[in-house]
Structure formats: structure tokens, C-alpha cells
Symmetry: C2
Subunit: 123 residues, 2 copies
């Protein structure tokens, strides 16, 4: 199944390029009122499948997506930490890489880590 370039896809991507935090569906929807709800969900999921975006679940139990800086060169190492501020709800990718050991016989496909608390701006 070959992907096609569409206006909505490009608009979504543009938003991620401008923002440097992770974004939820809600946030994108509010910036693209004209695009259908389900379409945005599908675009996000496709980008995620294609490895363009990575995904973290926030404390609010929403999916946040981000175009991580370290991953833009094609290889996807998402072993970094995320932080969600409980005040401003912002989810951001932290630079710190995390290292950990994988148990014997386990196959790891994905990883996500989230710290919650108060960010320096809201403190």
C-alpha cells in the first residue's frame, strides 16, 4: 500500500514541524478545524506506522505524538524520556536517552516512558 501526499497530511506535518512538544489529536484538531476528526486520527496513525511520529500516552490518557529531533535521520531510537506537566498538560521529549537491560528471551518492539509533575515554566 503506497502512501499518497494530501493537503491534510501536509498540514498535520507542518504543525509538528512548527511545534516542539508532543501533540494530541485534540490539539491538532483545534488548529485544523476544517479537517475531519477521523481523518486526523488516521493521519496520525499512518505517520506512526511509517515511523514518522512516535507516540506516548499522557497522564490524561490521551495519545501524544511527536516528531522527535533525534529520529529525523531515519533511524528510530525512541529510548528517551517524556515529561508531562500536570499544570499546562504539555508533553515534551527530553533529551536524555535511557538505558536499561532487557530480560532473557524477551523481544522488545517498542518503549515509552513518561514522567509527570510540574515543569519549570509552571513551577
Amino acid at each position: 500500500m503506497k502512501r499518497r501526499n494530501t493537503k491534510s497530511k501536509e498540514q498535520v506535518l507542518q504543525i509538528f514541524r512548527q511545534e516542539n512538544t508532543a501533540l494530541s489529536h485534540e490539539m491538532i484538531q483545534s488548529k485544523l478545524e476544517s479537517v475531519e476528526r477521523a481523518t486526523i486520527y488516521r493521519i496520525l496513525n499512518r505517520f506512526h506506522e511509517d515511523g514518522v511520529l512516535h507516540k506516548v500516552t499522557g497522564e490524561d490518557n490521551k495519545q501524544y505524538f511527536a516528531l522527535c529531533k533525534n529520529c529525523e535521520n531515519g533511524q528510530h531510537k525512541h529510548h528517551h524520556l517524556h515529561f508531562q506537566c500536570l499544570t499546562c498538560k504539555t508533553v515534551e521529549c527530553l533529551e536524555n536517552e535511557i538505558t536499561f537491560s532487557i530480560p532473557q528471551g524477551y523481544q522488545v518492539q517498542d518503549f515509552q516512558a513518561l514522567m509527570t509533575g510540574v515543569c519549570s515554566r509552571c513551577a
Copy 2:
């Protein structure tokens, strides 16, 4: 607000003591058919508030709760990794503690980390 001991609460706790994986609402409900759905949600949330259980969001976007071994002594260090098998859906606490650095001026309240993949039993 002082907590009271009830039968349902005790039953839920008993299930966690018997199991050594993290459990979702669904799993507890199936073992306690007679207890109301909303009640189980409330019990889980109260245990979480009280620091009896800790919480991780699974790949399936459900909340999993666990009575972690290392935390039973009153102090709560949940800086460990969780693993969810995409085949059997089991969520387990891994022993490995994770260490990471917290950015300047950030206040951390909680932490959760999830690896997904295939566990040794399903591989």
C-alpha cells in the same frame, strides 16, 4: 476522609496478592462478577491514591494496576520498567530499576515506563 474496610475492597486486594502481574479493570471484573463496574474503578483509583497500587497504561490503552513487591514496605519507588506482551497481553513489573536525570527546575511526581514486545513464554 477516612477509608473504610469493605468486602469488595478486600476482595480486590486479595486478587492482587495472588497475582504477580499487573491487572486491568477488565481482569478484576471478570473475577468479581458480583461487584459493580464503577465500584471496581473507584476501588482501584482509591488504592492508587493511597499508594497501595501503582499504575501503568498498556499498549491497549487500558490502565493496569499492580501491587509492586518493592513498594510493599511503605516507601514508593516505582522507577522500574514494565513489560507488556503483545501476544498474551500480560503486563508485568520488571525488577530493573531505572535511573535517569531530572531536568533543572522540574518537579517529578510520578514515573511510568513500558516496553512492549513478546515475552519469553510467547516467543
